[in-house]
């Protein structure tokens, strides 16, 4: 876990990106926004998956793009919720 984030996606973000869960090298990424930028640049599917309103969570708590991240964090991206 030394340099790793776990990324999870749900619903449209999962289907369009094609990846429901992946490990991601923390490297120089300091915030959720940095991760979003790298994922959007990864390939067209990720660019499309993150192109609408995307909600972010860190360690299963809602957060904003400027939230700082650290090695071992679980970061999730998903669309607005539609349960009930």
């Amino acid at each position: 876990m030394e340099n790793i984030l776990v990324i999870k996606t749900f619903a449209q973000v999962r289907e369009v990106s094609g990846e429901g869960e992946l490990e991601f090298s923390l490297d120089a990424h300091k915030t959720i926004a940095d991760v979003l930028l790298s994922l959007k640049a990864k390939n067209d599917k990720w660019a499309l998956a993150l192109d609408g309103t995307v909600i972010c969570a860190k360690n299963q708590q809602l957060c904003t793009p400027d939230t700082p991240i650290a090695a071992g964090d679980e970061v999730a991206f998903f669309p607005p919720v539609t349960g009930g």
């Binding site: 289907e15 969570a57 999730a76 539609t82 349960g83 009930g84």
Partner: protein, 160 residues
């Protein structure tokens, strides 16, 4: 109090009895009003007929968010007890999706609490609904009337 994510169908009587028994254990004789809400799968959406839905959730976070919402609602409306159950997975038309029960001393609190919980559940619990239409499967989009959903979602603990 209970807040659960389940895959199997649930029993009205079972949930009601559990809710009331918990309430009576701590507040015997003080429950004057119980309001329940049940959501069911309808067979149509704005575009036509559908053949059921599928509900995806974020294991772990969904349970936490649902529990937090139930606790917040109980505190905010001074309820005697609250219970909420939400199903996930593939559900057919007419099946039960969600159940909420609120026990209070007086009926206004019970009604207001059940409305409040359902409003916030639809904005703040990580659940996503897909509908099965004749020509394919479609994720339900957040409606224009829910345009502030993301904002509400980001401040689920605000009190008003």
């Amino acid at each position: 109090m209970y807040a659960r994510i389940v895959t199997n169908d649930f029993s009205q009587q079972g949930l009601y009895d559990e809710l009331l028994a918990q309430a009576q254990q701590e507040h015997a004789g003080a429950v004057g009003a119980i309001v329940t809400f049940t959501g069911l799968v309808r067979d149509t959406n704005a575009d036509g007929t559908i053949d059921g839905i599928s509900l995806e959730h974020y294991p772990g976070m969904t349970e936490t968010a649902l529990t937090q919402l139930a606790q917040d609602t109980m505190d905010k409306f001074a309820l005697r007890n609250i219970g909420v159950v939400h199903r996930v997975g593939r559900l057919h038309n007419n099946e039960q999706i969600v159940w909420v029960g609120c026990c209070a001393s007086h009926r206004k609190s019970a009604f207001d609490a059940a409305c409040y919980l359902m409003d916030f559940l639809k904005k703040s619990v990580p659940l996503w609904k897909k509908e099965f239409a004749a020509d394919g499967e479609y994720w339900v989009e957040v409606k224009a009337s829910d345009e502030h959903a993301a904002l509400a979602w980001l401040t689920p603990k605000e009190k008003d």
